[in-house]
């Protein structure tokens, strides 16, 4: 790490937008000054945020105009409520209308905002549909996962609907949080305080090896910016839409994953099965070293 590294994880959503994209290029849609806040949090005595936890708009990435959203993990864990979800849907629909080069989503979220329960669940579903509509219309979607809260719940599903997922090792991508699993099924099932286990199970390196993320970078704004730019550039020459062939290939990947690893309970055993040398030491490797080691062993579509 050089003295000039800026952590993606420790940046706020708005700082990430300022630092990821070309200086001063971010223009916000429905900004906080419009005060479009949650209509549901008040009844639970919970504070609101003027942007309901997500900033959406457009920005330039090495001169290329993209549409973007950044979820603020510090507000309600980045979870999706009625307004928050609607901002994401509006952004994705506008991306289609304006035929933008790509949508870049900076995901940091626990998923459905439980304080908004039913409204949150439908909202996340609408985001999923809007993302796939964007892809079908030729607009590729790139998802970045590197915040402290990870991408969980419905947003962990949304992430895997995108064309490309870029993660840092610090990022986590999953469905249910370890605390929820521990509460439901006991500490023997998943000890949520075993941080090393949590990251082996849901962290960027494991997802990269399994093929659930396509790029892994250091926790550094410059690295995320470069990876996002590379992804947008590569996607500009390909079709963004889902195809039967691609889904068939993904289904085979998931079938094989289940067949090979379905009986395992420790991620290191999976990495060993992938013939990764010194698998137990993978968590200790820096990003570049890890990528080099993983290159010939990782799975992926």
């Amino acid at each position: 790490m050089t003295a000039h590294t800026i952590s993606y994880q420790e940046s706020t959503a708005r700082e990430r937008l300022q630092r990821l994209f070309d200086a001063g290029s971010f223009e916000e849609f429905l900004p906080p000054s419009e005060r479009v806040v949650s209509p549901h949090l008040g009844q639970l005595n919970a504070p609101v945020a003027f942007d309901d936890g997500v900033a959406v708009g457009r920005a330039r990435l090495h001169g290329v105009q993209v549409y973007t959203a950044a979820q603020e993990g510090g507000f309600m864990g980045g979870a999706v409520g009625e307004v928050h979800g609607a901002k994401l849907v509006g952004l994705l629909r506008r991306a289609v209308l304006d035929r933008v080069a790509a949508v870049v989503l900076l995901v940091e979220s626990g998923g459905v905002r439980l304080h908004e329960a039913n409204a949150g669940l439908i909202a996340v579903s609408e985001v999923m549909r809007a993302l796939l509509d964007a892809r079908a219309a030729g607009v590729p979607v790139v998802v970045l996962v590197g915040g402290a809260n990870g991408a969980f719940g419905g947003m962990g599903i949304v992430a895997r609907c995108a064309n490309v997922v870029i993660m840092s090792e610090e990022g986590r991508l999953a469905m249910s949080g370890p605390e929820v699993i521990e509460t439901a099924s006991g500490v023997e099932e998943f000890d949520s305080r075993d941080r090393a286990l949590v990251w082996r199970t849901t962290g960027g390196k494991h997802r990269y090896l399994l093929g659930d993320c396509q790029q892994i970078v250091a926790d550094d704004m410059t690295a995320f910016r470069a990876a996002a730019h590379a992804a947008v550039t590569e996607l500009s020459t390909a079709s963004a839409a889902l195809t039967l062939d691609a889904l068939t290939a993904e289904q085979q990947l998931l079938e094989q994953r289940l067949a090979r690893f379905g009986a395992m309970s420790e991620p290191v055993d999976i990495w060993t099965a992938l013939d990764v040398p010194d698998a137990a030491n993978l968590p200790m490797l820096g990003a570049d070293e890890f990528i080099a080691v993983a290159a010939t062993h990782r799975l992926g579509v």
Binding site: T12, P31, S33, R35, N45, A46, P47, V48, F50, D51
Partner: protein
């Protein structure tokens, strides 16, 4: 939740920038939305806070803030989740500095 409203007169500094927001509504933190507004020269501050019963402390912090910057025709709105007075002052100053640094 508690709401508090303050209005300060006799300010002299008008801010030219578009609205800005600093901070995050998380535990021990707050967000400050600051924008120019036609208020007959006044600076108004509206606070919604999860920490109830700290009126006098907010009053002192706001008075000190106004004394530092003497803003005029400025509207400030705050969503607070239990920030300390030091953090509140910091965010308010950051908000003004963001306006000054981003004179657009």
């Amino acid at each position: 939740m508690e709401t508090l409203n303050y209005r300060f007169e006799h300010g002299t500094r008008r801010l030219q920038s578009s609205p800005q927001v600093v901070g995050v509504v998380g535990s021990g933190n707050l967000e400050v939305l600051i924008e120019p507004a036609a208020l007959n020269g006044a600076c108004t501050i509206a606070i919604t806070t999860a920490a109830v019963g700290f009126g006098p402390i907010w009053q002192a912090v706001m008075r000190d803030f106004h004394g530092r910057w003497l803003l005029a025709d400025t509207r400030i709105s705050i969503n607070d989740m239990g920030a300390t007075p030091a953090v509140v002052s910091l965010r308010l100053d950051q908000a003004v500095q963001t306006m000054l640094g981003d004179a657009s």
